[in-house]
Amino acid sequence: MPDFTPTEMMTIAAARALSNEDVCFVGIGAPSAACNVARLTHAPDVTLIYESGTIGTAPDVLPLSIGDGELCETAVATVSVPEMFRYWLQGGRISIGFLGAAQLDRFGNINTTVIGDYNKPKVRLPGGGGAPEIATSCQEVYITMKQSTRGMVEKIDFFTSFGHGEGGNDRERLGITTKGPTLLITDLAVWKPDPVTKEFTVVSMHPGVTREQVQETCGWKVRFADNVEETPPPTELELKTLRDLQARTEKAHGGKKEA
């Protein structure tokens, strides 16, 4: 088993959740790395869409923004941003939306807007961007984030995007027909919502991770599935693909001025 970091494990576990048939709406950071590792390993035909309007893109390095030039150069087509949000996202064409979170609760509700009160924020975060509609228009939502008690909280300060509300059939009650968050991949574990309560439940822990570590880094009382599996460690190919991608990215984004 090769050495790997928890973040690498998180990215690779997320990559594995994607298939050739998926059409993914990709955010920046971890989701982008995961989607491109999938594309470069087991899912060469996965369709990656960035909200800048680039459809079916295949960048050689990870973009720094969701609108880097390479996304357009390698895309099947690049459409306007209104079209992206109307025809492709709202039109129900996206199977998987990837979201990150500053704060997350056990029902997959996400806050990336403010810490503290909205009108007098302690910290003004970037806000939702595409997230409010990604969360409800994609057929499913996958969430990736590193675990911390600051991030995984009992109660989020602001509902940037809706997951399962207070659980159960809260989505249906709002008339939302998509599945919402069906997968949470952290640096320690893989979580899935309980079929009835919709509370995220640990179904797999990454190699060497203990239940105590998962609980210590999570702000709510963690539920574990009856049979918690061990996440298969990264393969040599997965790890090499991710590291090569990151090395290419590092080199490209160092900026030509410094070069």
Binding site: G53, L64, V81, R86, Q90, T113, V123, G130, G255, K257
Partner: protein, 281 residues
């Protein structure tokens, strides 16, 4: 009908204190040179519309030009937070600003509705989202056929829109290529539109018929500013200066450092400085 003029003239003639103004470009083609000219001319009390305020509005907000910002993602893309915008919101420095916050979908639809001459945009959005509770500009309409409640937001109708584009021809038609964002919509939604371009060519002979071309009669003013998007990029001309985006995180972290940087790089120079900034990019 498009006038060809200097950036100084174009800004002086078209943008007034108190105007509502959009500077668009979705990561690509952000009209930085135009924003710097506005800062130099010291416009006040602007209402700034932009999906992703980005460095461009961080600078304008930090220089105290804005009284209100209408936006959907206030981050430094791939880097982190917008520190000048945060300072204005959290601490009122250099002045307090009002914020009207939307989702990307709402902002894109609001530009689309503005271009389409409609008073509001109707879309499926904000379901379960907290912005509905804090932004009174988010309302709803009911589909008269299915009874579904759909989100409605006011159309964007800026007094002035600024964009940066690859090319204009001598008639004043403008070509935008690559990640075209909401630029066409932002121009068509506006009362006046100012376009900075990398290049002015004789004609567009041989261009594919389905590209994003804005006819000259939709544009107020065209200005030749090579490099005018830096540190954003212009597809076909120069790449994004990612290092500058990373550097901005440091500059903007400190009020004095920011102020000095703006003096040196914006107030003390003209728009002709942009060409040098993209050399070799």
């Amino acid at each position: 009908m498009a006038k060809f003029q200097s950036l100084k003239e174009a800004v002086a003639e078209n943008l007034r204190d108190g105007d509502t103004v959009a500077f668009e470009g979705f990561t690509h083609l952000i009209p930085h040179a135009a924003a710097h000219e506005v800062i130099r001319q010291g416009r006040k009390d602007l209402t700034l519309i932009r999906m992703t305020p980005d460095i461009i509005y961080d600078q304008m907000i930090g220089m105290g030009l804005a009284k209100k910002v209408i936006f959907s993602y206030a981050g430094n893309p791939g880097v982190g937070l917008l520190r000048r915008m945060r300072d204005a919101i959290e601490n009122g420095w250099p002045r307090a600003i009002e914020t009207v916050e939307h989702s990307h979908a709402a902002m894109a639809n609001a530009y689309e509705a503005g271009a389409a001459g409609l008073p509001c945009a109707v879309f499926r959005g904000y379901r379960g989202a907290g912005l509905k509770e804090v932004n009174p500009a988010i309302k709803s309409v009911t589909c008269p056929f299915t009874g579904e409640e759909l989100a409605a937001v006011p159309a964007h109708r800026p007094d002035v829109t600024f964009i940066h584009a690859q090319k204009a021809n001598r008639r004043g038609d403008v070509l935008v290529e690559g990640i075209i964002g909401v630029q066409k919509e932002a121009v068509l939604a506006a009362k006046r539109a100012i376009v900075t371009v990398e290049e002015i060519v004789d004609d567009f002979e041989g261009l594919h018929p389905n590209l994003c071309v804005l006819p000259h009669w939709t544009i107020t003013s065209i200005v030749h500013v090579p490099g005018g998007a830096h540190p954003s990029y212009t597809h076909g001309y120069y790449d994004r200066d990612n290092a500058a985006y990373l550097e901005w995180d440091k500059i903007s972290a400190d009020r004095d450092l920011f102020t000095q940087w703006m003096k040196d790089n914006v107030l003390a120079v003209g728009s002709e400085a942009f060409a040098a900034r993209v050399k070799g990019m």
